[in-house]
Symmetry: C2
Subunit: 274 residues, 2 copies
């Protein structure tokens, strides 16, 4: 499987016109990025369809969209034109609620999956919980013969979520993020490495570009000196990532976490003095 | 709470006499290390009472011990003499089984807890599973007013174990290890940082000294640029670590993982196309 991972620059968007200009320019950059060949999937960051800031969140009435609107339409048309799946982030309106969502469309332009962020952050530079509602569903979908799960940014901090997806047979986690340089930045990469390895799957943690963002991380299912992680810079960057089922099998053979895991853990008693 | 963490050198031990010489010399070094004041607890690595190698594992008949034997006696006498708790690793004989155990004795010399490693490793340089049986109990004990849990080396790879201890109110995890420079070494520190932060507790991951070992890690409950981890060198090293309940509370206030965690995660359905 080949991924084209776009750590993209996103301009100021405070109204629909700003946003549509961004999407139009982004589509042009995506066409260029695909000149060297069309990947199985193009992956874009959390809320890729707009600026990430409290000021932009105050304009969500103008920037959000449902699955039938112009944001999704722009990406589905592009997916069809290029003949590739696209995973992109948007503020999704659903009834009276608004979600931080990652939407996957297939190369035929059809909806391949929607995931609404389960844990909306409210700490450091993140004021999401004041503007968005947490999701109520998990997503596992199939892209180019691979089982793909999605979690978004802060979701990373909760081990049970990736574990549940791994137990559903997921081989690749797409983790669109908006990590800015607050105190939570320092531990981000350690968490990604741990999640990839403890679940023995590929993990792409994709940020937006910029001096305050950047440093996206791609982890193979076993990270060691011979299988390092790939760290992006801070500018706009397009990385082609090749995933290999044999590497997945080899990771699971070398480090037999699946066999060694204790099925009886929850039932184990506590030690007590005699 | 103050910990004295001993990343100790351990000589060749292939018979009981080797081992008792090691324990005698270690006691002398511990006395010196306590000259500057007696900590609440002295922590020593996995299998601190003996060499860690396949050759030593072939001599376990001579090196193992039950809770009434000379190994435990050496440490309980020292705990009583110094007036501090001690957590040490040993090959523990229990009936027909043998465990990789961490034993905690209180400053009165009484047994404060026993933990038998739940996951015995069999990969890379680790041939434990051929010599040891996995444990069947968890340990949470109290030391100097702190709730303390223990996990050993490879146990680190399984998120559910530390999570269960954290849910029991544990504030400090003692993680004695024997990490040598095989492929598993590269990701060790990322795992420790993640486990400390995701459970919002202190984590001491303590290795034996030596060019092929070393680099023990101590993590506060929130790791960021202002609260870095402490990494040991490779030689024998005694570190005094001060733990603070206010720092625990502050970590949990700043990053509200406990409140944000989804109690309904296991029950969430999967997305399906309309």
């Amino acid at each position: 499987m080949q991924i084209l991972a776009g750590q993209i620059s996103i301009p100021t968007t405070r109204c629909r016109a700003d946003q549509l200009t961004h999407l139009h320019q982004l589509a042009n950059r995506l066409r260029v990025a695909c000149d060297d060949g069309v990947p199985d999937i193009i992956v874009l960051p959390e809320l890729a369809a707009q600026e990430y800031s409290d000021d932009a969140f105050d304009c969500l009435e103008a920037l959000d969209d449902d699955l039938g609107g112009p944001v999704v339409e722009a990406f589905t048309e592009l997916a069809r034109e290029l003949g590739t799946a696209i995973a992109f982030g948007m503020a999704r309106r659903a009834g009276s609620r608004r979600h931080i969502s990652q939407v996957l469309v297939g190369p035929d332009g059809r909806l391949a999956g929607v995931y609404d962020k389960l844990h909306c952050a409210q700490f450091g530079a993140s004021g999401e919980a004041a503007h968005f509602s947490p999701g109520e569903q998990l997503l596992v979908t199939e892209i180019a013969g691979w089982r793909v799960g999605v979690v978004i940014c802060y979701d990373l901090r909760f081990p049970e979520l990736a574990r549940r997806l791994a137990d559903e047979g997921v081989e690749l986690i797409l983790h669109p993020v908006a990590f800015t340089r607050d105190f939570s930045f320092a531990s981000w990469h350690a968490f990604v490495t741990t999640r990839a390895m403890e679940n023995q799957l590929y993990w792409l943690s994709l940020n937006r570009a910029g001096a305050e963002w950047g440093q996206s991380l791609f982890c193979p299912p076993l990270v060691d000196d011979d299988h390092p992680t790939l760290t992006f810079g801070t500018g706009e960057e397009w990385q082609r990532l090749t995933l290999d089922k044999a590497a997945l099998r080899e990771a699971r053979r070398r480090l037999p976490l699946g066999t060694d895991r204790r099925a009886d853990l929850d039932a184990l008693p506590m030690w007590t003095p005699d």
